[in-house]
Symmetry: C2
Subunit: 131 residues, 2 copies
DNA sequence: CAGGATCCTATCCGATACTG
DNA sequence: CAGTATCGGATAGGATCCTG
């Protein structure tokens, strides 16, 4: 997709139907960019992690949301799940090729935001619901 | 929340302090990856658009959410807003340098998802034998 | 340790009505 | 055309308890 324009004057072309329909890509994007999904994916870029490691890595996430987010990502084939039937049980999560593929632009997005905020001196600025 | 007092350049070695603190980058990421934010940003990559053009471009979005999303993006300096006091009034939106900067990884993310889904044969139409 | 089940609240978001 | 204000249903998400 070279550009994202959907404003075809006569509407003869449907190249960009992602915006127009409930394309499955939209669901996938929603999962990836869900509140916690992006942090899980970025966290797993450096190394595979166990459940509690993820929980401690992503501060503020509840066990419920971590579990739920992981299940969605596994279902989307972005994350794999390995269970070792030891005592106590160990469950490890890691990125699939697809997950690693998507992790790159997510990391890039995050880096660019961080970089810009540093340049701004991280001024609070007007926010939603504040000010 | 949003105390904004963690910006102390202590170690600066910590690559992902954002995970551990109440970093403003997290708020920004939330806005950018909000349900509609990503589509607004991608839509505006090709050209500046007026309110109703955006609404028609991003199918399924309500005026309320478009307005709300745009306000957040403008407040975050990702999108600019130009009002022309004509009759009827015209309001045009476009990407700032920062917005354009973030649009790239978002587009890339979207492209990679679309590409993968195409490989998976998820698209409607000629169906491959998937078992 | 890993995570399911439940309850409950906050918020998201669409629909509607109204303004300039 | 380009919004704002309000209401209400749907959903996300946190806290807690419980299991293997």
């Amino acid at each position: 997709m070279a550009d994202g324009s959907q404003l075809t004057p006569t509407g003869t072309d449907a190249r960009y139907d992602v915006f127009h329909t409930d394309c499955p890509a939209r669901d996938m994007v929603d999962h990836v960019t869900s509140r916690w999904g992006i942090w899980v994916l970025i966290s797993l870029r450096s190394n595979d992690l166990r459940f509690f490691e993820l929980r401690e890595s992503i501060q503020g996430i509840s066990e419920k949301m971590l579990s739920q987010t992981l299940r969605a990502l596994v279902a989307d084939r972005l994350v794999w799940r390995k269970v070792e039937p030891t005592t106590p049980p160990q469950v490890t999560y890691g990125l699939t090729d697809f997950g690693r593929n998507l992790g790159e632009p997510l990391q890039e997005l995050f880096d660019r935001i961080t970089r810009q905020l540093s340049l701004d001196g991280v001024r609070p600025g007007p926010r939603r619901g504040t000010g």
